[in-house]
């Protein structure tokens, strides 16, 4: 049995046999035995940008909230405002969940299916912390919190992903074209082939995240493989999300950094609630204080102008001082350059140096994302 560093057996998803059959290279990913690639993470990356690829995301945590106080609960719990999307059944919202100091406990997606039923997807690594926090914040509100460990999830992503997924799921998804971007729909409710399908993802491409019962996900995965959707591992998942300018919790933000210092100001909603009162979400006061004092750093993209790879924790030198730090980094297969995210002083210009091993290598400072709809965005000056 494969064990993690401290010798506890690694957790596996229902797709472990499928992964082994498909030649996956399995690694310990936060206590889970997961595929890092199935041969070449660079090829898998291109596959998603150009065609369609699928990811096992069963390790992520699915939480259902039901009850008449769900909206009031989320108004307090989340920095982004769910009430602004609550009129449209199935709309999704990306938000951070903050502690009272304004630090990020986790980032998550919430699908508002009804005012009394929402589904949250939270990170795998923060599962215990998140659930404990969420339960504590319930107080006496009429909300039933249910962790759905009976459900499995796969992500199908790429320009051809939706079309191929619809072929694979031909008996499960009727009128799938009505599902708009950043929306979710529950197909075949209460039936054997019930499928929760969201038009969301972590790659910057169009596609679906599909949730079904644990016992059915292996068949679902194989149906997708049959129509030509290729399996892709966590290596490609990381380079795709990096190109798409999407944050990774634990790297780009954590309990000690606010969304304002992590490129996530756009996910914080300070506007008044529907009673035209200030929405008192947890962490609001700390963020307002931070704005009053003025931010000292900003969150930017870096493109290395030289040989090497950008990696988290490398130091960024601005005007001779070690002033910033990489939070994420890797190699962009689409751009054929090393890219990363960094927290740098607020007045940093469009050039900086990165300390890579013993050398100082020049890098361009750009805004995110790097790639959108498969196209490279920032001008690359040689």
């Amino acid at each position: 049995m494969t064990t993690s560093i401290n010798n506890t057996p690694l957790k596996t998803t229902p797709l472990i046999h499928a992964h082994k059959k498909m030649g996956a290279k399995l690694v310990d990913f936060g206590g889970w035995n997961m595929p890092i690639h199935y041969g070449s993470q660079i090829e898998e990356h291109h596959q998603v940008r150009q065609d369609a690829g699928m990811f096992d995301v069963c390790h992520m945590t699915i939480v259902d909230l039901r009850g008449c106080d769900v909206m009031a609960y989320l108004a307090k719990l989340l920095a982004n405002d769910v009430t602004k999307i609550a009129q449209q059944s199935g709309k999704a919202l990306y938000s951070c969940m903050l502690n009272p100091q304004g630090g990020v406990i986790d980032d998550l997606i919430v699908y508002v299916m009804q005012a009394t039923w929402v589904r949250l997807i939270v990170n795998s690594a923060t599962r215990t912390k998140d659930l404990a926090w969420m339960r504590t914040q319930l107080g006496s509100m009429a909300v039933d919190l249910s962790e759905r460990d009976d459900l499995a999830m796969i992500a199908v992503q790429g320009p051809n992903a939706r079309q191929l997924a619809q072929q694979a799921l031909v008996n499960d998804m009727t009128q799938a074209d009505t599902l708009k971007p950043f929306n979710a729909q529950l197909f075949n409710e209460g039936q054997e082939n019930e499928r929760f399908i969201a038009r969301t993802g972590y790659t910057g491409e169009d596609g679906y995240e599909i949730i079904c019962a644990n016992e059915q996900v292996e068949d679902l995965w194989e149906q997708c493989a049959k129509v030509g959707i290729k399996p892709c591992g966590l290596g490609a998942r990381d380079t795709l999300r990096l190109e798409a300018g999407m944050n990774l919790y634990g790297n780009d933000m954590d309990d000690t950094h606010t969304p304002l210092e992590s490129g996530l100001s756009w996910t914080v909603d300070f506007s008044n609630d529907f009673n035209n009162k200030e929405r008192q979400f947890i962490g609001r006061a700390a963020l307002e204080q931070q704005l009053k004092e003025g931010l000292h750093s900003k969150f930017v993209g870096l493109i290395l102008n030289g040989k090497g790879i950008l990696r988290a924790h490398q130091k960024v030198i601005v005007e001779g001082t070690e002033a910033g730090e990489l939070t994420s980094g890797s190699f962009s297969p689409t751009m054929q350059k090393a890219i990363g995210f960094a927290r740098v002083p607020i007045n940093t210009g469009d050039q900086c140096l990165v300390a890579i091993r013993n050398k100082l290598v020049p890098a361009h400072v750009v805004s995110l994302p790097f790639v959108r709809h498969g196209k490279i965005l920032p001008p690359i000056i040689e």
Binding site: K25, I36, H37, S40, Q41, I42, G235, T239, K307, G308, I309, S330, F331, A338, R357
Partner: protein
Amino acid sequence: MSNIPPELKYTASHEWIRTEEDGSLTVGITEHAQGLLGDMVFVELPDIGDEFEAEQDCAVVESVKAASDIYCPIEGEIIAVNEDLEDSPELINVNSYHEGWLFRIQPLKAEHVDNLMNAEDYAELVESEAH
């Protein structure tokens, strides 16, 4: 189990060595090593004329996962480097023992090659590292 050609010599740091007809040695990293490192994206090769001692780091291969130092297996002088790796570092992944060669070295003393590991011993090393 990865391919370990029996006619080559090996090092504990996962380099392979082939003796050419003219007595020079071609050096690369093994199939096992490229599998551990993942997709290659950059290679830093030594310059022709550079001299190295045995076990001195002389090159760097950088994959999406990590940068890895390459150690010169034998004392000698670099006489050729694989320039194809500049544009196609993935040759190391695709064909570690041929198109993915790193550099060619003229050994100071030909008999030093005999001190290197043979295929059987290298296979044992790989096996032991798996557990």
